[in-house]
């Protein structure tokens, strides 16, 4: 078999091996470390941070929010107190600044901290997998003029690796590897046929 073809085929078999390893990793089930549920009221034109966690890329956080009226939900990569700290630093008012106007002002200035957001929603469900060690806070904002009754829950899963990402890589690398390895498989088959006909071993 041509050397370049051999090289391509071996790259193919290596890709298949890596793909199988990734598939194995993606099949390892994640372990759930418990669910926290929280029910509270958010006054009109105010916001309320809900859950604060430090997550690693080997963890995923599933957040659900259900509300009596449409609310804005933000997943922020900051600590629980960060919005309040920023607002109190940038205003003369030193009280609890949980007015939605302040939140909009804060988010407008540090928009890079928004990991995910959903506006005017009655039901929020999102799974967050960080790409670094990060602080995560769920912030629920009620921009309406009436009170909102909110139920939120948080569950954290521990995993070896981001399963969906790893599975996608496996889904690509195995077929690509198999295609690249076709000449090698064909050569192997032809050698087997020849050796069975002649009764001798054909060297690679």
């Amino acid at each position: 078999m041509n050397r370049w073809l051999t090289l391509t085929s071996r790259i193919g078999t290596v890709l298949v091996a890596i793909g199988l390893a990734l598939l194995l990793i993606s099949l390892i089930p994640s372990g759930r470390s418990g669910t926290n549920t929280n029910g509270f009221t958010i006054e009109a034109k105010t916001f309320q941070p809900s859950f604060f966690t430090v997550l690693t890329p080997q963890q995923s956080e599933t957040l659900t929010v259900s509300s009596s009226i449409a609310v804005d939900v933000y997943l922020l990569e900051v600590t629980y107190s960060a919005p309040y700290d920023w607002i109190s630093q940038h205003t003369t008012n030193k009280g609890l600044n949980n007015n939605v106007t302040y939140l909009q002002w804060y988010l407008g200035n540090v928009s890079q901290i928004i990991a995910y957001s959903q506006k005017a929603t009655l039901s929020f469900n999102y799974q967050y997998i960080p790409t670094k060690i990060t602080n995560v806070t769920l912030v629920i904002s009620n921009p309406t003029s009436s009170q909102a009754f909110v139920q939120s829950s948080q569950s954290i899963s521990n995993q070896v690796a981001p399963a969906s990402k790893v599975a996608t890589l496996a889904d690509w690398s195995i077929p690509v590897g198999l295609v690249l390895a076709v000449p090698w498989f064909r050569d192997l088959y032809q050698r087997r046929v020849r050796s069975s006909k002649t009764g001798t071993t054909v060297p690679p």
Binding site: V14, T56, P57, Q58, I133, P204
Partner: protein
């Protein structure tokens, strides 16, 4: 046995191809790549990031990289020791090297072809798979700190390379591979035990002379000490006595690779001038 033709670079490439064929017979390379990929994800951890309060992002990148190096590095050591001791040793025992000496190629190119296949090609999947796995796992940790990731690879690879060069010398001296392989594995484990003892002495008595000397063979020790001084928290005791700087880490790493080069040069000199078959 490969047919060697005259031509620019051709004998070297023929020998290299022949060595590749011997060192990475199916499914050796595939098996090792599978183990690298599985090991990279299974052993990766973020203990520095969570355990160390105020850990710098460099320290987190270092902690993540060094956490996954244990098992894959051991696998890598087995692979290159097998290639150097068994591959070269068997060629010496069976007289294949003697045949290579009759080819129109200088002796040092023969050894280069063997080592490029045994160590160089072995390094490619090791670094490639592990770095990719790190990137898949934590792109925002690895991407901005690729320099730290590569430095951690460098500091952790120098000790296996020193052991490999010792195994090469033993294999060339004894002209057989099995003993070289056994001595190589014993040396690798002995160094690990000595490291443990030296680190314990440095921690309990603040006597860091042993640690400083051993850091020339295993610069991963000085790198670990450097990053432990960058991190405070419940799992990190304050480092008293010797607080190396980043320049020290680079100097010790360069020093250890200087030792690696000297040992490999000794192997080359012996192979080129003193090896009688």
């Amino acid at each position: 046995m490969p047919t060697i033709e005259r031509g620019k670079g051709r004998p070297f490439l023929e020998l290299f191809a022949s060595s590749l064929n011997e060192d990475y017979r199916f499914p050796i390379l595939e098996l090792f790549c599978f183990l690298y990929a599985v090991g990279a994800f299974i052993f990766a951890g973020f203990s520095i990031g969570l355990g160390g309060i105020g850990a710098s992002s460099d320290a987190v990148a270092y902690g993540l990289t060094s956490s996954l190096l244990g098992f894959p590095l051991f696998i890598f050591v087995i692979l290159i020791l097998k290639n150097v001791a068994f591959g070269l040793g068997n060629d010496l025992e069976k007289g294949i090297i003697q045949t290579f000496f009759s080819y129109p190629i200088k002796r040092h190119w023969i050894l280069s072809a063997k080592l490029l296949s045994a160590v160089g090609v072995g390094l490619l999947p090791f670094i490639g798979i592990l770095t990719s796995a790190l990137y898949v796992l934590a792109p925002d940790v690895v991407g901005p700190h690729l320099g730290i990731v590569l430095l951690t690879f460098l500091t952790n690879l120098s000790e296996p390379l020193i052991v490999t060069s010792i195994v090469l010398l033993i294999t060339l001296l004894l002209k057989r591979g099995a003993l070289g392989l056994v001595l190589g594995i014993v040396t690798y484990f002995a160094l690990a035990i000595i490291q443990g003892i030296v680190v314990a002495i440095a921690t309990f008595t603040n006597n860091v002379v042993g640690l400083q000397i051993l850091s020339l063979i295993s610069p991963s020790l000085i790198e670990a000490r450097y990053f432990s001084t960058q991190t405070t928290g419940p799992f990190f005791a304050p480092t008293i006595g010797w607080a190396p700087t980043f320049t020290d880490v680079l100097v010790y790493t360069a020093g250890s690779y200087f030792i690696v080069i000297i040992l490999f040069l000794l192997g080359y000199t012996f192979f080129s001038r003193k090896l009688n078959l």
